[in-house]
């Protein structure tokens, strides 16, 4: 190859190199563009997503608007319907109702005035419809109501063309809008009938008065006659007959003239025949004597009559006065008794509620702190027991209600399973403390969403289960619920409480439902209790269904049955909360030494379509594991039998769940500390068990919770969380002071404490506060009085209008009104629950 060729090649090579570089540059540029494009694409899609999100929100808002518009339309339809109803009522009212405006034009009417045949029209002047006689009277009265703004009554008389007269009583009432009388409504009733009766009454009264006058005249006459006759008799006895005759004759003339007095007509009528006879035969002495003796007898009789009648009258009057006085006394006594009773109830609830306030309040706070499951359970038991104590008061109240036949059932939706688990939760501690098993069995077809009175069912079941625990010394108590009957809308649930206790002798069974009686007179001392529980439970059960029935086997145990009719509740609409469930088909080995408990557990798990094998000892369990495959092992520790054995090693590969009562948990942790297991405290909450099973099935390994029980100290929120609010707590009880200030502290609010009303007033003069929490019952000056003084202008408080919230253990309804009347803004019932407390505080601090 010559140099020329080499030269040419070099040039070519150079060119090629240039080309490669060029290509690379182009490629890089392309890649860059591609990247930019991709970024652009991502940005675009992101933007689209944002847009579609926005659109979705917009649409949802629209939908909500649409919904509320539909609601509004419905409400409007209802409104016009009720307006229709109202106008139907008005139209059918027997009264004439006419409303007029300031110019006396008709704005409403239901019918016209009597005697007016012209059809009434809205907008026309009232004059057109009132007959002349009453025209001015009505206009004047309407004007006066417009001016005074106060209602008045007008009586008027309508003389109808056919000579009938109608009396109307019109009540004129002002309609006030914005402090001005906008219209006047006249409600006119036809009182013609009433007038008639009034007239008749008046006539009767006149008659009575006349009669009375006559009676009075007769009385006077009687007295006169008596005097004259006495004189006559004296003279007859003292002188001879001649003298006496002449005197007598004179007297007779007087008598005769007197007898013609019109006032004494009836008396004269009565005496007339004799009188007339005597007047026609004046000079016959024998006749004259006869006349006089007869007359005297007659007069004496008359006087006696009158006297008798008067005495009777006086006596009746005295009796009447006496009975009026007695009635008044009785009414007063009854009033006092009622007052005393409600005072007693108020006092009693106060006496018990105040300490309970402390217990429940502090427990609530304790729950907020970091507790392990077991401690939490203890605290929940404290709260449960507190509530139970309150229930005892209610027992007594209930009983008096039952006696007065005032017990009423509520009707609302509740969850049956939660109710049953609550009952077990409340009494579980008691049962396990006595080494008894408390087993809940529910039929698999049992509907959980029902309507009824859960509080009352709970009350009965707590009573029955409580009794069962009380009268059982070993074995178990089974609370079960079965579906007895089902229709489209209702179910009959049979609750039964079965124990292995002392039983009830046959001849005693009928008397256990009587108040203050337990099966054996002597057991009351041994077992305690008010003796009211079963009587109340049976009363309530009778109201809800067929009462409580009992079967008992002396020395072996009893079963109490309770059938309750409940309405089915519609399944809740909207998303149903997620509920963990053991995956169907998993194989579970249940180890339990109590036959009833293992049977119940097997049924429960099989209802969830798990495959369940039962072993009564660890030894049997080990054999079962050798022969079959299991996914989970569930050990139910009843008493010390199982605890004595070690868990076989062949179980180590399987997830292990141990069920034990609260009291046993420490022992179990110590004993099986080398194993990995999940501990569930009894009585079991189904949700908890199911989620443990689901977790165990999903992860395949047991979660070791040996170390969860670490921090037990009460965790306090840092005190420096001070949001600037200042609250004055007026409370005399130290316990309540602590509870309320602890709750406030958790909310980060500082509180000053005043022990009584005087101290509160003093503090309010010196400091500025945002809110006052006021106890009602305090020594020296109570909460009502203190509030009145704060509101009063004579008090030198910095803020007369400060918000005041009452805290009172008085649970009665009228207490709330009493607080409001005293000038307080709101009301908190003790025992104070944290949630209510926070709600109220936030409500008034934020406003």
């Amino acid at each position: 190859m010559n140099t020329k060729d080499i030269q040419a090649l070099r040039i070519r090579l150079n060119e090629l190199e240039q080309e490669v570089l060029q290509n690379r540059r182009i490629k890089d540029e392309l890649l860059e563009k591609q990247n930019a494009l991709r970024e652009q694409n991502v940005k675009l899609i992101k933007k689209s997503i944002e847009l579609s999100d926005f659109q979705r929100q917009l649409e949802d808002k629209n939908y909500e608007l649409e919904l509320s518009r539909t609601e509004l339309e419905k409400a409007l339809a209802n409104l016009s319907e009720s307006e229709n109803t109202l106008s139907t009522i008005l139209a059918n009212s027997p009264d004439i109702i006419i409303a007029v405006d300031q110019r006396h034009n008709v704005i409403y009417f239901n019918r016209t005035f009597p005697g007016n045949n012209k059809p009434l029209d809205i907008g026309k002047h009232l004059c057109a419809y009132i007959i002349n006689d009453n025209h001015d009277l009505y206009h004047e009265t309407i004007d006066s109501v417009f001016q005074s703004g106060s209602p008045t009554v007008l009586e008027s008389e309508f003389n109808l063309p056919d000579n009938d007269t109608i009396f109307l009583e019109s009540r004129l009432v002002p309609c006030i809008i914005d402090d001005k009388v906008s219209s006047v409504v006249m409600i006119s009733s036809d009182i013609t009938e009433r007038k008639k009766i009034e007239q008749e009454l008046k006539n009767t009264l006149t008659d009575l008065e006349r009669f009375n006058r006559i009676m009075v005249g007769r009385e006077i006459r009687n007295i006169e006659l008596k005097t004259e006759l006495e004189q006559l008799r004296a003279k007859l006895l003292a002188n001879g007959s001649d003298a006496s005759i002449s005197t007598n004759h004179n007297n007779r003339t007087t008598l005769a003239s007197n007898l013609t007095d019109p006032l004494a007509t009836d008396l004269s009528d009565w005496l007339c025949p004799i009188d007339k006879a005597s007047l026609t035969a004046p000079d016959n002495p024998a006749d004259d004597y006869l006349f006089r003796s007869r007359q005297r007898a007659a007069l004496l009789n008359l006087i006696e009559d009158a006297n008798l009648a008067r005495n009777q009258l006086l006596e009746t009057n005295i009796k009447l006065e006496e009975s009026v006085r007695r009635t008044e006394e009785m009414a007063k006594a009854a009033n006092e008794a009622t007052k005393a009773k409600s005072q007693f109830l108020a006092n009693m609830s106060h006496e018990i509620r105040t300490p309970m306030n402390g217990v429940i309040g502090m427990s609530d706070i304790l729950l907020e702190t970091r507790l392990d499951e077991e401690q939490k359970r203890y605290v929940e038991t404290i709260i449960g027991s507190g509530k139970n104590l309150l229930r005892i008061i209610n027992d007594v109240l209930d009983f008096s209600k039952i006696e007065a036949n005032h017990l009423e059932l509520e009707h609302y939706e509740f969850n049956l399973l939660e109710l049953l688990e609550d009952v077990c939760g409340l009494l579980g501690f008691e049962a396990y403390d006595k080494n008894l098993e408390l087993i809940l069995v529910t039929a698999k077809n049992l509907p959980f969403h029902v309507k009824g009175d859960p509080a009352r069912i709970n009350q009965i079941l707590v009573n029955l289960v409580g009794n069962a625990i009380k009268f059982t010394h070993e074995g178990e108590i089974i609370l079960s619920a079965d579906l007895q009957k089902e229709t489209e809308s209702h179910v009959v649930i049979r609750f039964s409480v079965r124990d292995t206790g002392i039983g009830i002798p046959a001849h005693r069974i009928s008397s256990i439902f009587e108040p203050f009686i337990q099966a054996d007179g002597s057991t009351i001392r041994k077992y305690g209790g008010t003796g009211l529980g079963l009587a109340i439970s049976n009363h309530i059960a009778n109201k809800m269904g067929d009462g409580i029935t009992v079967k008992s086997n002396l020395g072996k145990g009893s079963v109490f049955y309770l059938d309750v009719l409940l309405e089915k509740a519609a399944p809740a609409s909207g998303p149903v909360p997620y509920c963990a469930a053991p995956p169907p088909g998993i194989r579970i080995l249940v180890i339990s030494s109590n036959a009833a408990a293992s049977k119940a557990m097997k049924q429960l798990l099989e209802n969830e379509q798990c495959v369940c094998t039962v072993a009564s000892t660890f030894h049997h369990a080990a054999t079962a594991i050798k022969n079959h495959k299991f996914d989970i092992v569930l050990v139910d520790i009843q008493n010390d039998n199982l605890l004595a054995d070690q868990i076989p090693e062949s179980m180590d590969e399987l997830p292990l769940i141990i069920l034990a009562s609260t009291g046993k948990s420490d022992e179990i942790r110590n004993r099986y500390g080398n194993k990995r297991f999940r501990l569930i405290l009894k009585p079991i909450h189904r949700k908890e068990l199911f989620s443990a099973l689901a977790i165990a099935a999903a992860t395949g390994t047991p979660r070791n919770d040996r170390h969860t029980r670490t921090a037990t100290k009460i965790r306090e929120r840092p005190a420096e969380v001070d949001n600037g609010y200042r609250i004055l707590l007026v409370e005399d009880s130290k316990v309540n002071q602590q509870v309320a200030s602890a709750m406030l502290k958790q909310m980060g609010i500082a509180a000053d404490i005043a022990e009584n009303g005087f101290e509160a007033l003093h503090k309010l003069r010196a400091n500025h506060y945002d809110l006052v929490l006021m106890d009602c019952q305090m020594p020296q000056m109570d909460g009502y009085e203190t509030t009145k003084r704060i509101r009063s202008n004579s008090e030198q408080s910095l803020n007369h209008g400060i918000r005041i919230v009452a805290m009172t253990a008085h649970a009665m309804k009228e207490d709330r009104q009493k607080c409001i009347d005293a000038g307080m803004d709101d009301y908190l019932a003790k025992p104070i629950r944290k949630t209510d407390f926070e709600h109220i505080i936030n409500k008034y601090l934020k406003s």
């Binding site: 991709r38 694409n41 675009l44 899609i45 659109q55 089902e486 998303p575 469930a581 169907p584 088909g585």
Partner: protein
Amino acid sequence: MQKIHAGVGLSDAADSFQAGKNAVTDALERINGQTPQILIVFGAMRFDHRELLRGIQSVTGDIPLVGGTTAGEISTQGFSTDSVVVMAVASGQLHCIAGIGHDMSRNVYACTKEMINDILSRDTFDPDASLLLFPNGMGGDGTQILAGIHDLLGEHFEVAGGYLGDDERFSMTFQYYNGSVYKDAIVGLMIRKQDGIQTGTGVKSGFESIGNSFTCTASEGNVVKEFDHVRALDLYKDFLGETRSERLPGICLEYPFGIIEPSLSAQGNHLFQLRCGLAVDHETGTISLAASIPEGSEVTLTTASRSEIIKGALDAANQAKACLSGADPRFIIMFSCVGRKLVLGRRIQEEISAVKQCFGDDIPIIGFYTYGEIGPINKMKAELATAKFHNETVVLWVIGEEQA
């Protein structure tokens, strides 16, 4: 003379036996006590399923029965939960044969073939028949079922179906086949019809593509690994932005992927099958789906508002009605995705109302909320008549009579 009678009954009685008995009695009353050819039964998980079927059979004896468990029941009365719905179909003009294939999760394809062979062994093959499918909802890749059907019955055979549910526990479903309860099976129902009877399908979601497509560059089974050579989850998160990503995997229901049918997407108007993410793995950056997205497929992001979802149901109903070419509709079987149920929330009843709006309030409907839907994108267009596997979609199957 009406040729097809269908009645739907519902019960929410607590007792399983009683519920089955009540629902089937209800259904039979609505066909005036005629003897049905077939019963279609969908039940909530809460039942003792053997007792449920025993309750039904206490009334109907050994009349063939197909169905299974759900994530929510659909009936003429609307949407319900914790209930059992039963449809009784009586007609001298229909020939119904049910079949079953076992062990679906071991081999979906083989199981499908077993089911079809079971049916064909007892009946002649009729290319104009319809096949309704009720597979175990946790049984595996739905595209494998379609492969089995297409291999044995041909690509254009009319298929509709829904993956059975378990009330959103996503652990195991049950299949009802005659008097028995199965765990891991595919139940099929072949319906052959005489002249004068028309069937149709409606398949729509209401979801629309947002933004440009991207390519699936790595996937394995139901798990997607990469889009455009980027970790799949990373890209998805980029799209969603930070706040929405916090709602993973729930937000997948609102923004499912659409696999674009390249041959059928003209003028930027994409046709796609939906695939919804069920779970995400933040460490590996992968997304698990209800069915596979094959490597190399073009994918787009989709979304729909609640009213668009409801509109989707209406569109599906209109599409199904159009297939009947004027025949009077007699009953509908409805398969709707559980994801739609979750997104719709309290507006759920509107979806069934939309279907009724198209077919009339009295049309008997039975169906359920599914874990995956099967049906053709559009039966009326030859190129779209092949059945596909969907998510977030409503599939309707309807039967009607031509007027005499």
